[in-house]
């Protein structure tokens, strides 16, 4: 395996978050947070519970509109991005509480991830003819590669609602991958998993990054896993950025240690 600790040559900035502040009513979720994500890296956003990690992801994804600050994605400011536009522009994500179509099969779920890749007109596609059918075949082939990649052949035809949690997480990753994202946002990909499942998921994340060259931004509160797989790490605490750097730097950062050990804030 490649040594994840060694710094790799970093690519262009694909996503820049600049001075983001977000509040719900009087509660400040994020205060003046800035960082960037570079092409091809695995970028982690960590922090104790309630640090504002999910809020950050939801801002990038367009679910929340920050009151202040800008998010620049591939050179364009996306302050007004809607979640549908985010998907269309190459950002795919998974959710902490798995948002799969429970009644549909694994295959169908991942196929829905291809919807935005369809070049024929969405309305005309309803008439399942010639080009639409060929496109469907191409999409199916792509999805089969993902199924093979994630080693979920055995559950291809099973409604995802019947699958155990760890597998659902994997299917959701598959659906996100089906969109061939430029930027993949993972919201606590290992939450609620046992050690073995975490190891599997870590391997898949590394493999996705390696095999497809996908840039990955992930939120996680399990520090250990993050240290092993991330290129660079942002640490949030109480909505503020308290550290940013490669795993070794973050590990040694006094502020991070205090935040995680729960030392009282001044």
């Amino acid at each position: 395996m490649t040594d994840p600790g060694s710094p790799r040559a970093l690519g262009e900035v694909i996503l820049a978050v600049d001075g983001i502040s977000l509040a719900f009513g009087g509660v400040k979720a994020l205060t003046d947070v800035s960082f960037d994500v570079r092409e091809g890296e695995i970028r982690a956003i960590i922090g104790p519970n309630g640090a504002g990690k999910s809020s950050m992801l939801n801002c990038i994804n367009g679910f929340y509109k920050p009151q202040r600050g800008t998010i620049t994605y591939r050179g364009k400011s996306v302050h007004q991005m809607r979640s549908h536009d985010a998907a269309a522009s190459g950002i795919a994500r998974t959710f902490q509480n798995i948002a799969l179509f429970k009644g549909m099969t694994t295959l169908d779920n991942i196929m829905t991830g291809r919807l935005l890749k369809m070049r024929t007109n969405f309305l005309l596609d309803a008439i399942y003819l010639g080009p639409a059918k060929r496109e469907e075949m191409r999409n199916r082939e792509f999805v089969e590669r993902i199924i093979d990649f994630l080693e979920i052949q055995a559950i291809r035809r099973i409604p995802v609602g019947k699958l155990p949690y760890g597998l659902q997480k994997r299917v959701e990753l598959g659906r996100a991958l089906a969109a061939e994202p430029k930027l993949l946002l993972l919201d606590e990909p290992m939450a609620g998993m046992n050690t073995e499942e975490k190891e599997d998921m870590s391997r898949f994340i590394l493999d996705v990054n390696d095999e497809f060259g996908t840039t990955i931004a992930l939120i996680e509160h399990d520090m250990g896993v993050v240290m092993d797989i991330s290129d660079r790490i942002v640490v949030l605490d109480y909505g503020r950025k308290i550290a940013d750097g490669v795993p070794d730097e973050v590990r040694r950062n006094q502020g991070v240690i205090e935040a995680y050990l729960g030392v009282a804030h001044a």
Binding site: N61, S83, H84, A86, A87, A88, A92, R93, F95, A99, L100, F101, K102, G103, M104, D108, N109, M111, T112, G113, R114, L115, L116, M118, F122, L123, D125, A126, Y128, A132, E135, E136, N139, R175, A179
Partner: protein
């Protein structure tokens, strides 16, 4: 005593005495049930895609039939009239999405339900303004009259209606299972939020669903209109599909189809064999009684999603 006999044993004796006639009644009932299935299907489609019980489905049936008849009366050739009617229903779908659903997105279901009541009043009024309130006959030149298969008398028209409905249902089933759009529709029906996050355009989905529901309504309207004449009571007949939904379950396409067949058969068989003892015209309420029984013993319907309470 006599009454008890007439409702418990008598009918079965009659059935046993002349099974051929019973078969005839049954087949007639099943075939007419096909139309209930179609209307119920319209309800199910919209319910699945948006979680809304669309009160205006009945008016949609009437409105589609009315438009078709009106156009034909104006001397438009039948094929062109059919095409134009399809365009009009599509336009209605667009308008409903743009003017009603989009502004009300994320509102409570009851509000959306009220909105569909509004839509039905609007369409009813629009239909009257455009085409007047007279009863019209609809004659598309569909075959009529009886023919006999294996000693059983069957109405040609019923058969045509059943075949048409069968084809429509098959096409819809293929559309849902095999195409990308069908998959998107199922995804939306399954989980709105998740559908949004993978970038499924909800608006387009709604337009498609309402268009399809309109198409189904058109077919139902044509068939019924041919039988009963195109008039405003058609919209009320459509409400007879409600028991079908309770039987079949609100979320199940096969349920809508089977439920329709059961209601159709129960109406005809009930009327012929039990009607005399109960004073006749039971055709009008027997479906509701069936629905009531179902609500007591199987509230999720025949094929509805099982309601499982886990402790």
């Amino acid at each position: 005593m006599e009454f008890l006999y007439a409702i418990t044993i008598g009918p079965f004796v009659q059935i046993a005495q002349d099974p051929q006639f019973f078969l005839e009644v049954l087949v007639g009932g099943l075939l007419s049930g096909v139309l209930y299935s179609l209307v119920a299907l319209g309800y199910v489609l919209i319910y699945k895609a948006s979680g809304v019980f669309n009160y205006s489905q009945g008016i949609l049936v009437l409105f589609a039939a009315l438009t078709l008849v009106g156009l034909i009366e104006k001397g438009v050739p039948i094929w062109l009239a059919a095409l134009l009617t399809i365009l009009v229903t599509t336009a209605v779908a667009f308008a409903v999405e743009r003017l009603v659903l989009r502004p009300l997105v994320n509102q409570a279901q009851i509000i959306l339900f009220m909105a569909t009541i509004g839509i039905s009043f609007f369409l009813e009024g629009l239909g009257q303004i455009m085409w007047g309130a007279n009863v019209r006959t609809l004659d598309l030149g569909l075959p009529s009259g009886p023919f006999i298969v294996g000693g059983v008398l069957i109405q040609k028209f019923d058969l045509v209606a059943a075949v048409t409905a069968g084809v429509l249902v098959t096409v819809l089933a293929l559309f849902f299972q095999k195409t990308a759009v069908g998959r998107a529709l199922r995804a939306v029906a399954d989980d709105h939020q998740a559908a949004l996050s993978v970038g499924i355009p909800l608006k387009q989905i709604w337009i498609i669903v309402w268009t399809v529901a309109g198409l189904v309504a058109l077919v139902a309207g044509v068939m019924w209109g041919t039988n009963l004449g195109v008039q405003f009571s058609l919209a009320l007949v459509a409400l007879r599909a409600l028991p079908v939904l309770i039987l079949g379950g609100f979320t199940s396409v096969p349920g809508a189809i089977v439920g329709g067949l059961i209601v159709g058969a129960a109406e005809k068989v009930g009327e012929v064999y039990w009607g005399p003892a109960l004073g006749g015209a039971i055709e009008d309420w027997i479906a509701y009684v069936l629905a009531l029984i179902f609500l007591l013993f199987r509230p999720q319907g025949l094929f509805g999603e099982r309601i499982i309470e886990r402790v």
